[in-house]
Assembly symmetry: C2
Homo-oligomer: 493 residues x 2
């Protein structure tokens, strides 16, 4: 145990520094005045370097070796396994490449902030070429070490255990029925009217409603808080989870469900087991599983008919309106399930969102595997948008391939997590319904059985199981798109 304990100490040290990074990162987004940016960036870069050095410390290789001879129980073995997995992900790429990619990503992102508005693809490419080149190098190195394809090696950073063979099959399944389903739903919704008004909703009222909804969803305010930032996120640490939203006073719809979404992320973090706090095995399993929790809260709970029936009177209570018709449960339900293909992923509804992800997946997979060039992206984007959503992005880069920050930063392999999360969430709900009367829980707002199921099957498992095994133990089978399809058909048809 002595060797393993040395490792535990080391990873708790890393966790302590990561704690400070998470809080200062939240502060930079939610609190910091803009003039603090330069000094903060330098301090954060110093901290990142320090965390990177600790995470790649040369003595770790030897300690892992020595810990093999310790007598470890299964959870300690899982813990050791996760330490090693993180260490390998961190050490396999040479320091110079990490730095070069980080610099190229920052440069590309900085210019992108204005280039996007200018629809300047040519200008963007001047920086993006380098980001792609360095990302391909990284993918190649990770591939050689892991025996995976270059793209799968990148995917493995965000979604360990998932590969493009699976994704091709699952996403292939999705695109075989989703465009048609979408068309059907659009036709159906043409006959339904949704009532909207021009009223405005103060930030204060929206905030108070949001806080009340977080309470319903049992967000632990002794271990977290809600604030405002221009890009909503869930940050902080499991003991102190910081979620953010943004308010648009002309529209309460986005921020309210945004808060439900981030509350899902937050409860996963708050529900991670305390006995493994600070250790890799105690962290959330993957980006896809994280998104499954936020989407479980947003799509499975938040947009459900019985939950919206409870939300409606709450919204009426908080908003001093002359026109309460918009807050009638039926109308609110229609607002929250309206389907409308659009250019922008982050604004997409539940039904059209997967198309945005799948087209990005197909492009980034081929790009990392060297089958296409970054120059091919706009044309492929346009083709796939037409195919999946019936929209053209010809010469419209800013609402097309330049809309997201992910590739700009070199985060190839991240996008699939969003749709994997949506599918996991539907599959978890189907499994939960075998044990829990979910509709009754949502109607009565007695949500303990729902959260207990999530805690038992997801949150308390942290990273003790591989993603596939986690899903199998929770639901009885591996990821299967049929649950997502059934959910969409039941909700939208």
């Amino acid at each position: 145990m002595e060797n393993y304990n040395k490792l535990v100490e080391h990873y708790k040290t890393i966790s302590n520094f990561s704690h400070l990074s998470a809080i200062c990162g939240w502060d930079a987004a939610a609190m910091m005045p803009s003039g603090g940016n330069q000094a903060r960036s330098e301090a954060m870069a110093q901290l990142s370097l320090h965390i990177h050095q600790l995470s790649t410390a040369p003595q770790l290789a030897e300690w892992f070796e020595q810990a093999q001879s310790d007598e470890l129980d299964p959870s300690q073995q899982a813990s050791l396994g996760e330490m090693k997995r993180q260490w390998q992900l961190n050490t396999v790429v040479p320091e110079e490449l990490v730095k070069a990619k980080s610099l190229a990503g920052s440069k590309c992102e900085h210019a992108w902030r204005t280039q996007r508005g200018d629809n300047d693809w040519a200008g963007f490419c001047k920086n993006f070429e380098e980001v792609v080149k360095l990302s391909q190098e990284e993918a190649q190195i990770r591939a050689e070490q892991s025996g995976l394809t270059p793209y799968d090696a990148m995917l493995d950073i965000y979604e360990p255990g998932v590969n493009s063979q699976q994704l091709d099959s699952i996403f292939g399944d999705l695109v075989s029925w989703l465009p048609e389903l979408t068309q059907q739903v659009i036709e159906k919704q043409k006959t339904e009217s949704v009532y909207t008004t021009e009223e405005s909703y103060s930030t204060k009222d929206q905030n108070e409603l949001g806080l009340e909804v977080m309470k319903l969803l049992q967000f632990d305010f002794d271990h977290g808080r809600l604030d405002i930032s221009s890009h909503p996120f869930c940050g902080g640490v499991p003991q102190d989870v910081r979620i953010t939203t943004r308010y648009d006073e002309s529209d309460f719809v986005q921020s309210l469900m945004g808060i439900v979404h981030e509350t899902g992320h937050a409860r996963y973090e708050q529900g991670l087991p305390k006995r493994w706090a600070g250790l890799p095995v105690g962290q959330a399993r993957s980006m896809g599983i994280h998104e499954s929790q936020s989407l479980f809260f947003e799509m499975q709970l938040g947009r459900s008919q019985p939950f919206i029936a409870n939300l409606a009177p709450l919204a009426q209570k908080h908003f001093s309106t002359n026109d309460a018709k918009v807050f009638e449960a039926n109308n609110l339900q229609k607002i929250y399930t309206r389907v409308q293909p659009g250019y922008i992923r982050v604004d997409a509804d539940e039904l059209t969102y997967p198309a945005h992800v799948i087209l990005r997946y197909e492009i980034e997979r081929d790009l990392m595997n060297g089958k296409i060039s970054y120059k091919d992206i706009p044309e492929l984007w346009n083709l796939k948008m037409q195919q999946y959503l019936g929209l053209t992005t010809q010469d419209n880069f800013k609402d097309g391939c330049m809309q997201d920050i992910h590739w700009t930063d070199g985060a190839f392999g991240y996008f699939p997590s969003y749709t994997l999360g949506a599918m996991y969430a539907a599959q978890f709900m189907a499994a939960m319904r075998k044990e829990v009367d979910v509709d009754d829980a949502l109607s009565s707002l007695e949500l303990a059985p729902v959260f207990n199921w999530l805690s038992d099957n997801i949150w308390s498992k942290a990273s003790t199981l591989a993603t596939g095994e986690l899903v199998k133990q929770a639901t009885g089978s591996g990821l299967d798109a049929k649950y997502f399809r059934a959910h969409l058909e039941s909700r939208y048809l």
Copy 2:
């Protein structure tokens, strides 16, 4: 220059980690939910250890040696000198003693939080004995290294260059006339009526008034912010200064002038020269000089007749009151200059405050020099309170020697800074008046000449000069209590 530059790099690294410590410390006081405390404390302890290791790195001794042979300009020499001074302060005390004192201090403080309310001196002593013993050991070690007396060696941490011979003389001067002046003022104020009401003032209104006053005082909101914490302070970093206050809805008086006070601290930080950012020489000179800036803002500017004449209509504007009489300039002026001896230092007015400090100084000086025992404190406290303020603290520990956190934590040598600050502030004002029409600036709220003087003479100097030299260059003479006396007599008689 090569050797000196290595040192610059090293101290900028320390500064980056200190930045994170300052922001996370602010967060813990102003933002963090209580459930986050344990994890945060562990993370902060880890960071403190890291900063301590960097600050005491063994190679620094050699680097200092080597840097002597660099050709340094005078400001670089000052910079090198400050690095060495900080390094010596940090390295002279053995690591084990630092740790033991930190532990004993935390334990004593933790218990004190309940013992104070219980008036439990005997219980307090069980932990305090160890804090005193370890502090005396520290003082002894610092004395041997510096050639100062033990108490002066502690004083040197907070107020470099000031010793107890000077303090005995200056504070001796003060106590020779201050008790009598206080009595005179009390007699005079007996004939004056101050109008008060039972109205309440919302946190929101108080906050908005506070922000407006900060703007008048040219707080740079692009490099700082105002928030709430249970103990007001000025934190953050020069590029992003975080000040806090607390609001009492039954009384706007304290928080409003508290904000003026913290704004003084903040403007000093915001006014430190950018070219030395991150280096010891670029930091604020001392605790006493820092307090001189907060007290300059609070006492010299904030409570002056022309400033209050401007404050009065602002307060009327922000508070929806049925009874505006309280906000008449004359009345507000009386509120802000009311004199009333009391037990509690932090609630003391300008005239009685020094007595609180001097009695603590006399006790901690003799305690560190081994002339008295910690057991003698309550009796001495009672005697001196009677002598200076005419109040007895017999058997009243909680409003007597147990009221402050400083000794509990082992911060012996800190208290004099408060009254030194008040005296420096009066002396700076006297010097400024030779060049600037301060009353006109305060009446017209055209404060640029006032702040330019402070910037030229104090803020821009950072730590390039020793405290005594800084005061001499700014005012033409060393610290002299006559300016403080003249200020008090002019305001209160």
